[in-house]
């Protein structure tokens, strides 16, 4: 057991919390960050710096490490190129103001309407045409290889990816009304 711990201790993760971060919005409404952390080196061929200081990182991007399991935990904060500055272990660790910024920009990045009702499903030429109600209004979409397009994340959680690359979410299929459930049941 002790040896195991030694392995994972070799890697350090920069965790962001209310103490070492100041999240703010750019004039265009993009999230930006000022953080107290090791000096960021842009050229990856150069040595890492050991100096720790407050620095304005400018606009940052968020990426969920566990988008399905833990949408508000383990959020990676990265730069434009996708290089990681650090990780927000839980949005609750942030100040209320920062939490709001992070959650809002996650909502803007991960667009997956929640399906509340399935109006109709039609099979045609091996494709299925769906007409649904979502929290973003009425939507129609098409699935190719329906069984594969409907991914079961857990027993009840379903994520549907349509032919164009749009995603739809059903947090609990069994919570759908009976007629909606009957329509999707056969594809599960």
């Amino acid at each position: 057991m002790d040896n195991n711990r030694a392995f994972t201790d070799l890697v350090e993760i920069t965790y962001f919390n209310s103490e070492n971060t100041k999240f703010y919005l750019t004039p265009a409404g993009f999230p930006a960050l000022e953080a107290y952390m090791k000096k960021v080196v842009t050229n990856d061929l150069k040595e890492e710096s050991e100096e720790v200081l407050w620095q304005d990182l400018g606009r940052v991007y968020f990426h969920r490490a566990f988008p399905f399991d833990m949408p508000t935990k383990f959020i990676s904060v990265v730069d434009k190129e996708g290089k990681e500055y650090g990780i927000i272990k839980d949005v609750e660790d942030l100040s209320d103001e920062a939490k709001e910024i992070v959650l809002a920009s996650l909502d803007r990045k991960y667009f997956a309407p929640e399906i509340t009702k399935i109006n109709s499903v039609k099979d045609r030429f091996g494709y299925s045409y769906w007409s649904v109600e979502t929290d973003h209004g009425k939507m129609d979409f098409t699935l190719q290889d329906t069984f594969r397009a409907i991914a079961r994340i857990s027993d009840n959680r379903v994520v549907i990816t349509d032919i164009k690359g749009n995603r739809f979410n059903i947090t609990d299929v069994e919570a759908l009304d009976h007629s909606s459930y009957r329509k999707i049941e056969l594809y599960l």
Partner: protein, 734 residues
């Protein structure tokens, strides 16, 4: 089913009217579908004459943005949505609009075009429909396709398919005639039975023995005829079918090979394989099975119907009465039953996947001691299958008896009606028997026809997919007067731009010159466009802009065969075909003599390990053959390239999977090989490139540094950093 109308598509055209007139038809155009809060809207954006226009259903006015006020534009791809952003003159980033993924291609293409305009060049015209949906009805396309199945003309399809059967019209006509004959005979059989029953079995007077034998013989003759004609017909159909399907497969395969790499890689290998193997077969079935059977079944139906009506129309109506119900029943349950069985099939294939997974990874399973866990996983899947199949069985047992009952209702009608008539003496037992057989014959076509729509759709869809490839325009055609000549090997790139998809350029503004006999080393991190550059030299793709000249002649002027036959390639991944090692090396030059092949293998340092194999050059490799290590495969690839004696040699990480010693050996052979040849070499291990006359460092699709090793070291730029970083790593190793 009513057509799927894309309302947002219509709405967009309406919105476009808000733009100034000459902007409406601009080529640089895209749609968007979300507002700032990810709520659905319909919006359009276009560029014309220095100004970007944007409007949507949420705003009344047109928002304009002058191109002079912005530094750059780009698309940011999120998860399930995409945004169009720009940077203003003060380096502040702004979001112009955002959209669902359906607008991705249009948006990315527009961003690229605007960037091109900003740089002062003329953007290439967009020819493809980037909307990914049918412009007529708005139904989305299937992946890798741009033909709308909703709008495609099904009758026209049949007209296109028929010519494939045309060369075989004689046997097909003959088999249809046989159908006619069998149908006729089938209709007569109950009549003969009637004679048998009425005149002999139930005869009042003692019948003549001769007549009885004649009737029996007639029955025998009828069965014999049925059997023989059936056999002949089946043989004919099978022959014709096989011919048609192999012709189709050949034609399709040839066509696929003619397509450019870009055209082929738009579809997955699996997709192409199913099109060639199974779609052609189901198209063939349409011609040789569905259509003839349709004719036959209709013949039977009409024939029996006419016979029955002429005998007794009241009774016929009684029999037909339950038919609509049965038809309805078949139609309504068809989909439900299909889905049930599809589910069973699905769970069975899932179980197979689990098994496949476990056995493929059996080492990992054992090493981590996860046998127990995997057993549980498999058990869960097996239980699921047994549950589903049990439920399907129960369902089947519950549903079949009522159907059979419904089907036999007709018989009850006949029995009741005819029985009373027989008691009256107005009808004979033979008549009743005729009716009963006809009634049974009527249900056959009925059942078949209820499955027809499904069959027909499937087969027509297959035909559609086949034609889609047949109709595809070959995008890399040799010119009529294409050049066939021995090349010297000068390569020149002038302001070359290239991108695999509409989204982004992989290579930007590349200009370089490699003279005959020179060796160019290409350096840069992965994904920077090194392999792309050599793909262009091999002309697997054509440039978007700029020029690529070989011996000062545009690469597109050469015939593709002439060009590629003079290029030798050693790729990162070596693909060995199923066959012997000898054949694999000689693949590059099938006319090579055995001693040439051995020489090539020696030069590539492959001869030694080949001779250690028990079967030498006759060792089978490829699928289910001898497994070779990465280094060994690579040496085979080098031998292949050597045998070709190319004018231009391309080494894409050619020595990456070799150990240091072998690399040293191969370095020497490579040095011999590259001596008088133009060589393009990609390597991560910079020491491999020490013989290069010229080096380029690619970064973000552009040439960052160019020069000889010494020049670049003196410059102390990225190349210098790379060399230093690698030296440090090798110090570690020591």
């Amino acid at each position: 089913m009513k057509p799927i109308v894309n309302t947002s598509w219509l709405k967009r055209n309406e919105l476009k009217l808000r733009f100034p007139e000459d902007a409406r038809e601009s080529d640089v155009y895209f749609a968007y579908s979300l507002n700032k809060n990810n709520e659905l809207i319909v919006g359009v954006c276009c560029y014309n004459d220095g100004v970007l226009y944007r409007t949507d259903t949420e705003s009344e006015e047109v928002y304009t943005l002058s191109l002079g006020d912005i530094k750059s534009v780009r698309c940011v791809t999120y998860v399930g949505c995409i945004a169009f952003e720009y940077t203003d003159m003060n380096d502040v980033e702004w979001e112009l609009c955002r959209a669902g993924m359906e607008c991705r291609l249009m948006m990315q293409n527009a961003a690229k075009q605007i960037e091109v305009i900003k740089e002062g060049r003329t953007p290439p015209k967009t020819v493809e429909n980037l909307e990914l949906c049918c412009p007529k009805c708005g139904a989305p396309y299937r992946s890798g396709s741009n033909i709308c199945l909703e709008c495609s003309d099904k009758k026209g399809m049949i007209k296109r398919i028929l010519p494939y059967a045309a060369p075989y019209w004689k046997p097909l006509l003959f088999s249809i005639l046989l159908y006619f004959a069998t149908t006729g005979v089938a209709l007569i059989t109950p009549r003969i039975n009637k004679i048998l029953i009425d005149d002999y079995i139930k005869a009042e007077a003692t019948p003549l023995l001769g007549g009885f034998i004649a009737v029996i013989l007639a029955l025998v003759g009828v069965s014999l005829f049925n059997v023989i004609s059936g056999v002949i017909r089946n043989i004919l159909i099978v022959k014709v079918g096989n011919n048609i399907s192999s012709e189709l497969k050949d034609a399709l395969f040839k066509k696929v090979q003619q397509l450019s790499v870009a055209g082929i890689s738009r579809r997955s290998a699996g997709e192409l394989i199913t099109r060639i193997t199974s779609d052609t077969v189901s198209m063939m079935e349409l011609l040789t099975d569905t259509m003839p059977t349709l004719i036959q079944q209709s013949l039977v139906f009409i024939g029996v119907g006419v016979m029955m009506f002429s005998m007794n129309w009241q009774l016929t109506l009684l029999i037909i009465f339950p038919m609509p119900f049965i038809m309805f029943f078949f139609f309504s349950t068809r989909r439900y039953i299909n889905r049930r069985y599809h589910r069973q099939w699905q769970s069975e294939s899932e179980a197979n996947t689990v098994l496949h997974d476990i056995f493929q990874g059996i080492r990992v399973v054992k090493v981590f001691g996860m046998e127990e866990y995997e057993a549980k996983r498999f058990d869960k899947q097996i239980k699921k299958i047994s549950e589903i199949s049990a439920s399907n069985e129960v369902f089947w047992q519950l549903i079949m008896p009522p159907i059979n009952l419904l089907m036999s209702i007709g018989e009850f009608f006949i029995l009741a009606y005819a029985g009373s008539k027989i008691i009256d003496g107005t009808m004979t037992l033979g008549d009743m028997q005729v009716f009963l057989s006809y009634a049974a014959m009527l249900y056959g076509p009925l059942r078949w026809i209820s499955f027809l729509p499904r069959r027909l759709t499937r087969q027509l869809t297959s035909a559609q997919k086949v034609f889609e490839i047949m109709d595809e325009k070959i995008d890399m055609v040799d010119l009529d007067d294409s050049i066939e000549r021995e090349i010297d090997g000068d390569i020149t790139l002038k302001n070359a731009y290239f991108g695999y998809d509409k989204g982004e350029y992989v290579l930007k503004d590349i200009s370089l010159e490699v003279k005959q006999g020179e060796m160019l080393g290409i350096v840069g991190r992965s994904g920077v466009g090194k392999s792309t550059l050599i793909n262009l030299v091999m002309r697997l793709y054509d440039l978007d802009e700029g020029n690529l000249l070989i011996d000062d002649i545009d690469i597109r002027d050469y015939s593709q065969h002439c060009l590629r036959s003079q290029i030798g390639v050693v790729l990162q991944e070596t693909f060995l075909f199923k066959g012997t090692l000898y054949k694999n090396i000689a693949y590059a030059n099938p006319n090579a003599t055995p001693d040439e092949v051995i020489k090539a293998a020696k030069l590539a340092n492959a001869h030694q390990f080949i001779m250690k194999l028990p079967d030498g050059y006759n060792t089978m490799v490829g699928e289910r053959g001898q497994t070779l290590s990465g280094g060994e495969r690579q040496r085979i690839a080098i031998a292949r390239a050597v045998l070709r004696n190319p004018k231009i040699l391309i080494l894409d990480e050619a020595t990456a999977s070799l150990d240091t010693e072998t690399e040293k050996l191969i370095q020497d052979s490579v040095a011999a090989l590259t001596k008088d040849r133009t060589t393009l070499a990609i390597a991560h291990r910079l020491s491999t490139l020490r013989n290069c006359t010229k080096l380029i460092v690619l970064e973000k699709g552009k040439i960052e540094e160019m020069g000889s090793h010494d020049e670049l070291m003196r410059k102390q730029g990225r190349y210098f950093d790379l060399v230093m970083a690698q030296r440090q790593i090798s110090k570690f190793k020591k």
